[in-house]
Structure formats: structure tokens, C-alpha cells
């Protein structure tokens, strides 16, 4: 076939085909762009419908409220009033008769006023002319002057008359205008009242109109672009989460449980409305549904009372015979979801406690907890099952008693809540998004992780927030899965640590807060170098004086298994395999008994060697000499109860009253119920007298007990023993010294291996290093870098199970489990509870080392008062100030020892201390406390603060009270003598010295009714605080015995006639007097003279 030149070829067909292709691909591209690549559009449309439904329901309720009940009556009355007011002004002629008359009167009055003014003007001009004539006549020789004068006087009288007429006319006009305006005011007020009543409904109507308008219903992509925050790629943060999570920053879609929680916390109804944007009626319905399907269990008291919180009984099991009503599992799933929406965390869901699960044949199934195996079982021989997602695998129906099923069916009917999890309002929207982290400034992924810019799954996969994107190393932190158990939001808290590292207590992040405190309390940093925790003093006692303190037998028993002797101690177990063989790795050929025996053998020899080294190297401590008189245990017990020992210690076996702030399963300070097993009386005496002499970094303060008092307390503590005996091992016999020395040599190597010197001062280990892994960036560790050893659970399915969280959790519970032939694990077992492990896991996950790379303006507490508060908080925590005091609204643990009748004998509340006292005084007091309140038996101990620490605390209190620091002394001028005399009279009349001491207690004065020494005020109190205190003492220190004399109500009279009864002047005068009391001219003479009372009978 001859080829035609191209220009002669017919190209119709290829053109047609190509254009068809282009048209098709364009159509496909448009379709793809508009529809399949925009899955968020469906969410938006669904949300718009939900929003409209909610607004319509709101509107209906608002309208109903206005048409019925009291509000309806008020609206009807207001409308009637409005109508009456309108008619009175512009109704029928009869109705506006009065108004018209007033208008006419006003018009007439106005004319009269103008007229009067005019005539007055005329007369005044005439008078001026006459006056001219008088003057002229006088100059011209007095001719006719008298006549003109008479004329002028007559005219002036006329002017006075005219002026009176004008004044009357003006008065009449004013009255008429006032009467007219009264009509207008009545109308305005009536209109405002109607508007006020219909306003809520009007607003809903407006919102509904905008939501249903075309612009309100247009879908579109939005994003938070935060250039200053880098994502895990180092790029700008771009978050588009809000395109599907549409209700997240809008009130009105909160879970009912959150609303009910706020209601329970007695948040004001107005705030409830602002935070949650729901009507009180809806809250009522929520409450009714909640009451049907949730069971409230009493909340544990945050200040654990002596003996611990009451145990919460588990729910009674369901009686299979009574559980006759059955519903299919689909219905049951719905009820579970409803329970999840309605029951708060501390509540029991009746859906789980009152239902029996049955399979398709009707056989009862055990309820599977949606959690994996216990840590101890991970290395066992059984194959591990992943738990079902909701624990309903194989369940066909759920059965319960008839009433229970009816309750659920009724609850479901009444349930007005229809918000899918994806549309829910942020659970802490008000506190987090509105108040402190607006999403347009912080985005979402900074806390939640995940791929913020992604809006659909990769390829055809379901969208999982970047989970499939292997280049993305910042996974969603929504839920942490540990061994199949899920913990909501734990790692969101870990993200707080990124910026808030310096804060010990982070509001809204309880897990992280507990983790931080536990990390400090348990002394993890003794072995693991961790940024921010490297300079803390050693956590355990100094061991260089052991020979004076205890016996070799007890020492060995203690090192072998600390929790065996003291169940809630910090000291960990270095031979966990000798207690529970499941906590260590062991060859498959070995039985549990064999493992246990092997570990017990190792323990016996290692403990003997370590104890030998400690014993041989320690030297008798220089102990304070007790007095000759033997102490009295009874007096000692009374002192122990009274002076404040019990703020930190308990002395009852098993008591949970003084647990650590970080954990409910760890004692704050040793439980002393068996202390005499361990410590010799000589050592106890010396320790009580001066703890720091025996352990320079101890937290135990000095209660300044006298020799006799200390001897009494020693006698009491010496009675506290368990009855067990700890005989000395044979190598401690006098003739066996060589053997002991030899064991000690081996012991030294073991102490080095286990890193005992991380927590203890031990002779020969003065310069030892921390032996553990650095944890400063541990939270970023890739699980692939973690060694999961031979633990069967992980080797079974490494791709799913080998996660960071599961490794840390397992390591915290059973640190020796990951060892094998080549890898020896040395970390001791702290017997952490699950709660403790989760807290520390959260803390570790937060250690990412990112803080220094963050923009400065985002990091809180870098300088100024905030830094002072954060630094001070750490000292307050370390020294346990809150065990006695309420400091800045938290604490006061020891108050559980005081009953309703003696609250004022408890340590003072020191919230606002910075506004109250002068820094130099506080500094001196912290360095060396002196009794301030003669009525207290409990004492402020001496903490032997360094100048630096005392300064930090003073600055802390000043900053927490928003007072400037350093403090410039404000001189209060000396009041002049007459003022001073008046102030003194007031002082006497109020009988201040009936309680307040001046220098020393008055003769016969009962210390229980005494109040602080007035002579201290000058140096101690900030003068500006005194009038504030006098005005409302109970507002500044709740429960104080100081009465108020000046009623804050301005109409109430002053307590005394001095200073003309001016209350403020009286309080200021007393301030001036107090600030100079004791100076020459301001003596009170004999202490009680001012209060001497006149005897009415003679």
C-alpha cells in the first residue's frame, strides 16, 4: 500500500479516539478529584445533618420553654406589658389619651417657657436702660435721679416676678418631659424584657439559619498551618484533622459522661451552658439515662484516711436462673456503646456487670477481658491468644433479668445523644483548646501525633492517620496498646512532656504527673542518667555506719527481699527469680522449682558477700548520747502522734494512710510498725535527734525534739517489732573475720555490678558512675533496637507484639525476663503495679529530647515568676511540704488526723503565703523555724535548707502569689500621736490581746486560745496584707479562729466609733499600729493591759 504524505492523510479517527480519551481522562480526573479523593466530604455532609438536627431540637425546646410553665407566663406578661406600653403611646385615641394630654402639656409648657424667657429678656433690657438713666441723671447733677431710681426698682421687682414665672415654666416643662420620657422608658424596658426572654430561641434560630444556608452547608478543606512547629519530617505542621472531626472545637457534641461529670463537680449552670452548649433539660435526660445504665461507686478520698480508703466491693454475680430476657449481640453492642458514652471512668457499666453472655446454643460464655496475658505468663509454654476487640467473640446473645433489659430499652428510647465518636467535641475543649492551646496556633498532631495532612488512606487502604505510612515516625497517640490491653490517651499525656518538662504537676495529665513523681520517688535516676534528674541527692540511706544501726542477720534478710520485710518500700528486689521463677528467663529444660532453687542459691551467696562488704567497710557512727533517764514509751507514743511524725510515717502494719503522692502502692516514708527489728535504740535516738548527721541528704527533717523527748520517742519506737528474729550468720562470729573479709572482696564486685551506689553512699564507691541506660531520649527509641530476648509471647508474633510500650511495660514489671545466655540483665525488680508501670511508661515515652529545639515562645516556664514557681514546686515536692500544709491549694495530708473539733490545731494553710509574709522573715524562718502559733502541738521541723533552697522557696511563694521579688521594704509611716491614741483605743475595745500574745503568754492564758505574737508582725507581715486579712480572715485562711469584726457589707456599721466609724480607716490604723508595736511610744505595757475588762458589777 502506497503511503500517503501526512498532510493528505485523514486523521479523523485518531483525533476522535484521542479526544475521546482526553475527555474520558478529564472526566475521570474530575470525578476522582471531586468524589473519591475527598472522603471527608461525606463526613462533612453527615455532620451538617447532625448539626441541623441538634439545632432544630434546641429550637424546639427553647420555643416550648417560652410557651409553657413559668417562663411562658413571664413571656406572656412581658408581651402584654409591651403591648400596653405601645398602646399607651400610639393606640386608639382613648388609650393614648393620657399620653396625648402629656404631649399637649409639654408643648404648652415649652411655649410658656419661651414666652417667659422672652419677657424676662425685655425687662432686663429695660432695666439696663433705666440704670443708664439713673447714672446719667447722677452725672448731670442729680436731677431726676430719684425718679429713675424708683422706676428701676419697680422694674427689678418686675424682673424678679418674671424670673419666678420662668422658673415655674421651666419646672412645668421638666415635669412634662419627664412624664413623656417615662412612657418611652416603659416601652423600652418592656421591649428589652421581651427580647431578653426570646433571646435564646432567637439565637438558636439564627444559628440554624446560618447552618442551613448554602454557605453553611458547603463542604471544603480546611487546615491548621503552624510553621513554627516541626513535624516528624522536619517540615511545617499542617493539620487537616478537623475536616472529619468536625465537632472537635465546637461545644455541643460532648459525651454525656463528660457533662454529667461537670455537673457532679457542681460547675455553675451558666458555665455548663458555655462549656457544653447544652440545655439543662438535655442534661436532665442524660442524668436519667445514666442512672438507668451506670452504677456509681464511691470515689476514693484523694487524701487517704488512716487505714486506707474503704474497699469497693465487686459487683454481685448475675444469677443465671433469673437472667431470662435475651437480646441479640448486635443490640448488646449498641448498649455497650451507650454505656461507654454515659458512664464516667469511675462508674460500673451495668451492661457488663448485669448481663450473661451466651453462644448460639444458649450456653453461658465466660466474659473475656479485652486484655492480653499477665506479664508473669509471657515466657510460659502456652500459646498466647490475642484478645478479641471487644471481648464478644463467639457471643450470640446477652441475657439479664427482665428489669435490667427493660431499663436498657427505656434508656435507649430516652437517649437524645446520637453523636458518633468521630464528631465528638474534644473532651477537654474548654480547658485545653479554648484556654491554653488554640488549635490554629498549635495544630492537633503536636499532642496527638499521626499524619496531620493526610485525609485518606494510602492506595485503597482504609485511612488510619498515617499508620501505614512507613516514612512517618510519629504514630497517632490516641490509644496505647500494652499486651493487648488498651489505654486511652496515655501517650497524649506523654506529648505534654515535650514542652512542659520542667513542670512537676501538669493539670490534665495525671498519668504523666504520677510518672514524673514516681520516677523521682523510686530513684530510677540513681542508675539511669536522665536529663533534668541528674543532680538529685541519693535516694537511699548512707551505708557507712551500718554497724551502729543494725545487725548482720537483719541486713541479709533485708537485701535478700526488701518487700518481704517492708511491703511498700522503694528498695527493689535484686533476685526476683528467688521469689517468683516466672519473673526471670530460664531454659525450657528447667522446671519452675529448679529455677527457683537455682536463684535462691545464687541469692544466698551473693547477699552474704554484699552484706559482708557493707559490714566490713562501715565504721561505728558518732552517735549522740541519750540522757541518763530511760525514755517512756507512753510519752513517746503521745509525742509521735502529736509533733508531726505521722504526717509522713505510719506505724500500723498494712496501713495505706501515707502513700506516695505518685502511687497508691508505695509508702511515702517507711512504715515503722517493725522498725525495732532493724534499728538499734542508740541509732534511733541519734537519728531522731539529727537525721542529717547520719545521712546528709535525707528528706527526714529535724523536729527539734529535746533530749528527753527524743529518748521517749526512741523508747516507743523500740517497742515496735514484728517478733521475728534475725540471728547473725556464722561468718560474723569473732573467730571468722578472715572468711568475712574474703566474702567482702567478692561483695565489692557485686556492688559494682548491681550499681548499689546509685542510691547509697558506700565506702569505696565514692566516684562510681551510673550503670544504667541513658533515658533522656528513650521515648524515641525504635522497637527494633529493643531486645525482646526469648520471651515466648514476643517471639510468637514479633511483627505485632514487639512494641515499645509492651517492652517497657514488661521491663518495668519483670526486668530480668529479657536476659539470655549472652545478655545478663541487672535491673532489679521494683514490683511496680500496673498503674505505676503505665505512669512510668508514659513518662519515658515523653523523654524525646525535643524541648531545646522548640521555639522559645512555645515553651512555658523558661524565666520569670513561672520558672520560680516550677523550681519551687520541685522543692515543695521533694521535702513533702504538702504532707502537712495546704500549699497553693493542694495538700494538707496530715489533716486526716484532726477531727471536726480541732481543725485549727492542724498545720496552717499556706496558700497565699507569698502575699502575707515579708521575704526576709520567711527566709530566716525556713532556715530556722521558731514557734509562731503557741496553740499547735504539731511542729514545723527544721529542714536545714541551704541558702539557695531557702531563697528558691521564698521566691516560689512570692511568685505563686504574684508578688514582686525581691521585695522592697515598704515603710509604714509612724502614725501621729492622736491617731495612735485612737488606734490604741480601738485595739483595746476589740480586745485583740485576749488571744494574741504580746511577747509571751499572759498569766493563766490557755495556749489553746492563744494567737500569734503581735511583736512579730513588724518583721513578719507584709503591711498591705493586714487590712485584707482583717476584712475577711476566713477567705484567706479557711477555718481560722480569727473572727471578722468588719462586715464586708458596706451598709453594716463599724465595730467601734473611732475614726468616725470608717471601717477602712480603722483597719489601716491597726495596721500602722501593728507595724510599730514595741517601738518607743508604742508599748503595750503589761501584756494584757489593753484587754483588761471593766467589771460591770463593781
Amino acid at each position: 500500500m502506497p503511503t500517503k504524505p501526512l498532510e493528505q492523510t485523514n486523521l479523523k479517527r485518531p483525533f476522535a479516539v484521542l479526544s475521546a480519551l482526553i475527555a474520558l481522562s478529564t472526566a475521570w480526573a474530575i470525578y476522582d478529584e471531586v468524589s473519591s479523593r475527598r472522603p471527608w466530604k461525606d463526613y462533612q455532609e453527615e455532620f451538617f445533618a447532625l448539626r441541623e438536627a441538634h439545632l432544630r431540637a434546641d429550637l424546639k425546646r427553647a420555643e416550648q420553654r417560652l410557651s409553657a410553665g413559668e417562663a411562658g407566663q413571664r413571656l406572656a406578661a412581658a408581651r402584654a406589658e409591651l403591648q400596653a406600653a405601645e398602646q399607651a403611646m400610639s393606640g386608639s385615641p382613648e388609650q393614648r389619651q393620657v399620653y396625648q394630654a402629656i404631649l399637649a402639656t409639654e408643648e404648652k409648657a415649652r411655649q410658656e417657657e419661651v414666652e417667659a424667657k422672652l419677657y424676662l429678656g425685655f425687662d432686663k433690657s429695660k432695666a439696663d436702660a433705666l440704670y443708664y438713666l439713673v447714672r446719667e441723671a447722677r452725672h448731670e447733677g442729680g436731677h431726676g435721679e430719684a425718679a429713675h431710681q424708683a422706676e428701676l426698682e419697680a422694674k427689678n421687682k418686675e424682673i424678679a416676678r418674671r424670673a419666678r414665672i420662668l422658673a415655674d415654666a421651666q419646672g412645668a416643662l421638666r415635669r412634662a418631659t419627664e412624664a413623656r420620657l417615662a412612657f418611652q422608658r416603659r416601652l423600652d424596658e418592656a421591649r428589652a424584657k421581651v427580647d431578653q426572654l426570646v433571646k435564646p430561641a432567637e439565637e438558636v434560630r439564627k444559628r440554624l439559619a446560618s447552618a442551613t444556608s448554602s454557605s453553611g452547608r458547603t463542604t471544603g478543606l480546611e487546615q491548621y498551618w503552624v510553621p513554627r512547629l516541626r513535624n516528624s519530617w522536619g517540615g511545617d505542621t499542617v493539620d487537616r484533622c478537623q475536616n472529619c472531626h468536625l465537632g472537635v472545637d465546637t461545644p455541643g457534641y460532648s459525651k454525656p459522661a463528660e457533662v454529667l461529670e461537670a455537673r457532679r463537680a457542681e460547675i455553675a449552670p451558666g458555665d455548663l451552658k458555655v462549656q457544653f452548649a447544652i440545655d439543662e433539660e438535655v442534661a436532665e435526660v442524660y442524668q436519667a439515662v445514666h442512672d438507668r445504665i451506670c452504677e456509681e461507686i464511691p470515689r476514693p478520698n484523694p487524701i487517704v484516711p488512716v487505714g486506707g480508703n474503704p474497699v469497693v466491693e465487686p459487683p454481685a454475680p448475675v444469677d443465671p436462673a433469673a437472667a431470662t430476657e435475651c437480646r441479640p449481640v448486635a443490640v448488646y453492642r449498641r448498649w455497650l456503646a451507650m454505656s461507654d458514652a454515659y458512664c464516667a471512668r469511675g462508674h460500673r457499666q451495668l451492661a457488663t456487670t448485669r448481663f450473661l453472655l451466651k453462644d448460639s446454643k444458649g450456653a453461658a460464655l465466660p466474659r473475656q477481658a479485652p486484655r492480653g496475658p499477665r506479664v508473669q505468663d509471657l515466657a510460659g509454654q502456652d500459646a498466647h491468644q490475642e484478645p478479641g476487640h471487644d471481648g464478644l467473640r463467639g457471643v450470640a446473645q446477652a441475657c439479664a433479668e427482665k428489669e435490667v433489659v427493660t431499663a436498657f430499652e427505656e434508656a435507649e428510647k430516652a437517649d437524645p445523644y446520637d453523636v458518633k465518636p468521630v464528631f465528638r467535641t474534644h473532651p477537654q475543649r474548654f480547658d485545653l483548646l479554648v484556654r491554653s492551646h488554640p488549635p490554629d496556633q498549635f495544630g492537633c498532631t503536636v499532642c496527638h501525633g499521626g499524619q496531620g495532612a493526610q485525609t485518606k488512606g494510602i492506595m485503597h487502604l482504609e485511612f488510619r492517620h498515617g499508620a501505614e505510612d512507613h516514612h512517618w515516625n510519629d504514630p497517632l497517640t490516641d490509644e496505647v496498646e500494652v499486651l493487648g490491653q488498651k489505654f486511652k490517651g496515655a501517650f497524649v499525656e506523654a506529648k505534654c512532656e515535650k514542652c512542659h518538662r520542667e513542670e512537676l504537676t501538669i493539670n490534665g495529665a495525671p498519668l504523666l504527673t504520677r510518672g514524673k513523681k514516681l520516677f523521682v520517688e523510686a530513684g530510677c535516676w540513681g542508675c539511669h542518667p536522665t536529663e533534668g534528674y541528674n543532680d538529685l541527692p541519693k535516694r537511699g540511706p548512707t551505708l557507712t555506719g551500718l554497724v551502729s544501726k543494725t545487725t548482720p542477720g537483719w541486713l541479709q534478710a533485708w537485701i535478700s527481699h526488701p518487700r518481704g520485710w517492708r511491703p511498700y518500700t522503694r528498695m527493689p528486689n535484686f533476685w526476683p527469680g528467688a521469689v517468683d521463677p516466672r519473673s526471670v528467663s530460664h531454659p525450657a529444660s528447667e522446671t519452675a522449682e529448679q529455677t527457683l532453687a537455682r536463684h535462691q542459691g545464687v541469692r544466698a551467696s551473693e547477699v552474704a558477700q554484699i552484706a559482708a562488704y557493707l559490714w566490713v567497710t562501715s565504721r561505728p557512727a558518732a552517735l549522740a548520747q541519750p540522757p541518763a533517764r530511760a525514755g517512756s514509751p507512753q510519752k513517746g507514743k503521745a509525742l509521735f502522734d502529736a509533733v508531726g511524725c505521722r504526717a509522713c510515717h505510719v506505724a500500723e502494719e498494712g496501713s495505706a494512710a501515707r502513700r506516695s503522692e505518685a502511687s497508691a502502692t508505695r509508702d511515702y516514708a517507711p512504715n515503722l510498725w517493725n522498725v525495732a527489728d532493724k534499728a538499734s535504740p542508740e541509732w534511733l535516738y541519734a537519728w531522731i535527734k539529727n537525721p542529717r548527721a547520719l545521712w546528709s541528704d535525707t528528706k527526714m527533717p529535724d523536729l527539734r525534739l529535746g533530749d528527753e523527748e527524743a529518748a521517749d520517742v526512741t523508747a516507743y519506737l523500740s517497742t515496735l517489732r514484728s517478733g521475728a528474729s534475725y540471728p547473725a550468720p556464722p561468718e560474723y562470729a569473732p573467730g571468722e573475720r578472715a572468711r568475712l573479709e574474703q566474702q567482702a572482696q567478692q561483695g565489692k564486685a557485686l556492688i559494682n555490678k548491681y550499681g548499689c551506689s546509685g542510691c547509697h553512699v558506700i565506702k569505696g564507691f565514692e566516684n562510681s558512675q551510673k550503670i544504667g541506660t541513658e533515658l533522656s531520649e528513650h521515648g524515641r527509641k525504635d522497637p527494633k533496637l529493643l531486645d525482646f530476648g526469648d520471651v515466648k509471647y514476643f517471639t510468637e508474633a514479633p511483627e505485632h507484639r514487639e512494641t515499645y510500650a509492651s517492652w517497657v511495660w514488661t521491663k518495668l514489671h519483670t526486668p530480668r525476663i529479657f536476659g539470655y545466655e549472652l545478655v545478663e540483665t541487672r535491673m532489679p525488680q521494683f514490683d511496680f503495679s500496673d498503674d505505676e508501670a503505665l505512669s512510668i511508661l508514659t513518662f519515658l515515652k515523653g523523654q524525646t529530647g525535643e524541648r531545646d529545639a522548640l521555639p522559645r515562645e512555645l515553651v512555658p516556664g523558661l524565666d520569670g515568676p513561672k520558672l520560680a514557681v516550677l523550681t519551687g514546686e520541685r522543692l515543695v515536692f521533694w521535702n513533702g511540704c504538702r504532707n502537712c500544709h495546704e500549699v497553693e491549694r493542694r495538700g494538707g495530708v496530715v489533716r486526716d488526723l484532726f477531727n471536726e473539733d480541732n481543725q485549727s490545731s492542724a498545720p496552717p494553710i499556706i496558700t497565699g503565703e507569698g502575699a502575707k509574709v515579708q521575704p526576709p522573715w520567711l527566709f530566716a524562718f525556713l532556715k530556722e523555724p521558731s514557734p509562731l502559733r503557741p496553740w499547735l502541738e504539731i511542729r514545723m521541723p527544721t529542714f536545714h535548707f541551704s541558702d539557695e533552697d531557702a531563697g528558691t522557696l521564698v521566691k516560689y511563694f512570692a511568685s505563686a502569689s504574684r508578688k514582686s521579688f525581691p521585695y522592697l521594704t515598704v515603710d509604714v509611716p509612724r502614725p501621729p500621736p492622736e491617731k495612735a491614741r485612737e488606734a490604741m483605743a480601738l485595739f483595746g475595745a476589740l480586745q485583740c490581746t485576749k488571744c494574741h500574745v504580746v511577747g509571751k503568754l499572759a498569766p493563766k492564758q490557755d495556749p489553746r486560745s492563744a494567737a500569734p505574737d503581735f511583736l512579730l508582725a513588724r518583721k513578719r507581715l507584709r503591711p498591705d496584707w493586714i487590712p485584707l486579712w482583717l476584712r475577711e480572715p476566713n477567705a484567706l485562711m479557711e477555718g481560722t479562729r480569727m473572727p471578722s469584726f468588719w462586715d464586708p457589707d458596706p451598709t453594716a456599721p463599724a465595730p467601734h466609733k473611732t475614726f468616725g466609724g470608717d471601717k477602712q480607716a480603722q483597719m489601716e490604723a491597726l495596721r500602722d499600729l501593728l507595724m510599730h508595736l514595741g517601738e518607743p511610744g508604742f508599748e503595750l505595757g503589761s501584756p494584757r493591759r489593753a484587754s483588761e475588762t471593766p467589771d460591770p458589777r463593781g
Binding site: D901, L990, K994, C995, D1006, S1009, R1041, S1044, P1055
Partner: protein, 236 residues
């Protein structure tokens, strides 16, 4: 029709009401079965004025094996009363460094007034549970009386911090069915409609005890509480 039915019901209710409202009187006593504790002399020496008049502790008074100053009140079974507004004031006097009367009762909403008859300073520190209600100083007999409106049910404890021994108690109840045992240890509650009630007896040292009582129409009702002296009030 509905209106006729409504009227009928109203008439019936009106007819039934006088029967229901027929009030009975509940009388009773508080027996004390243990050995009464010896009330020691108060140490009032710290204040020269108070020291002039020696007094004994009055926290437990037992006469003829009956306990005096016990607040007896209906805690369950009676509707809340709104009659407090018109009710007379409950007055606590301070005289000779002691409160008179020591134990009284009031309705929620009723005014409780403190007066000082002494020429010396007392502070009136009142508590409800461990929380301070108010704490005001009254320097002498000219001090303006303090008026407090009882807001919640419970025992308002009165204490003077200047004179540690001074104590008084005002039991506040939501319904008017209450009394305090007199010098003979007996009490009388009038105007109780027939029905089942839970009665509580509260004593400052021995705490609270309850008793179920049924009041039948036309029959006088009685109730006897028993304390043996081993009981302890909560919070002490």
C-alpha cells in the same frame, strides 16, 4: 367531662385531706443505760471575768437515767417545710462565758441570731461539719447581734475560740418535726400526720441513732431511744 373528673378528684382530695392532716403527738424519751460520766469543773481561770462564776462541763447531762439535750428530729417520711420565713428567730445568747441554750433546733431557712450579754470579747465561730460557716467577733454587750440564715440541714456547732470551753449546737432540719430533750430527758413532737417516719436522735458526745416510728391516726405515738455511753459522735 375532664373538668368534672378533675373537680371530683379535688373534692375527694379535700375530703381526704383533713383525715390525712389529722395530727398526732409523738412523745418519748432518751434513756441512758450506762454510768453517766462525771462532769468536771471547767478551767475558766484564763479570763478574769469568766473566772468569777465557776461552772461545770455540761456536755453530758443525765437526770433520772435520761439523757438531756438530745436533738430528736424526723429525717425521713415528712415533706420539707417552707414555713421558715415566718418562724421566730432562734437565739443563742452568750452570758457568763457560756452559750444559752446549749442545744436548740431550727428549720432550714430560719434565722439564727447570736447575742452577747457579756462585757468581754467572744468570737462566734460556727461550723457545719469541718467547714467554718462564719466567724465573727463580738467585743462586748453593745455588739450588733449576728444573724445567720440556716442554709443546710445538719448540726451547726458553735465555738468560742477565746474561751475554749464554750460550745452550743443548733440542729437544722428540713421539716418542723423536731425537739430537744428537756431536763427530764423527754421530748414531744406535735402535729405529725399518720405515717411511717425515721426518727434520729443526736447528742453532741454520743452521736446519732435512728429509730423507725409509725404514727397511726387516733393513737398517741411513742419512741424511746437508748444510749449506753459507749457511742461516739462522728468527727470527734
Amino acid at each position: 367531662m375532664p373538668s368534672i373528673r378533675t373537680t371530683l378528684i379535688a373534692v375527694l382530695a379535700a375530703a381526704a385531706l383533713p383525715g390525712a392532716a389529722r395530727a398526732e403527738t409523738l412523745t418519748g424519751a432518751v434513756d441512758f443505760t450506762g454510768t453517766p460520766p462525771v462532769m468536771a469543773k471547767l478551767d475558766r481561770e484564763a479570763d478574769a471575768f469568766c473566772a468569777k462564776k465557776p461552772m461545770n462541763d455540761e456536755s453530758v447531762i443525765v437526770k433520772n437515767k435520761k439523757l438531756v439535750n438530745v436533738w430528736v428530729h424526723v429525717v425521713k417520711g415528712a415533706p420539707d417545710s417552707k414555713a421558715a420565713e415566718g418562724a421566730p428567730e432562734v437565739v443563742v445568747n452568750q452570758a457568763d462565758c457560756t452559750y444559752r441554750p446549749r442545744v436548740q433546733f431550727a428549720l432550714v431557712g430560719q434565722k439564727v441570731v447570736a447575742r452577747n450579754g457579756d462585757p468581754i470579747l467572744h468570737n462566734v465561730h460556727t461550723y457545719l461539719g469541718p467547714a467554718t460557716l462564719f466567724n465573727k467577733g463580738m467585743p462586748n454587750a453593745d455588739a450588733k447581734p449576728i444573724t445567720h440564715v440556716a442554709g443546710k440541714s445538719g448540726v451547726i456547732r458553735w465555738k468560742c475560740d477565746v474561751h475554749d470551753w464554750m460550745r452550743a449546737y443548733v440542729g437544722v432540719n428540713k421539716n418542723p418535726f423536731q425537739a430537744v430533750t428537756g431536763d427530764d430527758g423527754s421530748f414531744k413532737i406535735e402535729g405529725l400526720p399518720p405515717g411511717a417516719y425515721t426518727l434520729e436522735a443526736w447528742h453532741e458526745v454520743y452521736g446519732a441513732k435512728t429509730l423507725e416510728v409509725t404514727v397511726e391516726a387516733g393513737k398517741p405515738a411513742t419512741a424511746t431511744f437508748k444510749f449506753d455511753g459507749t457511742e461516739k459522735a462522728a468527727g470527734t
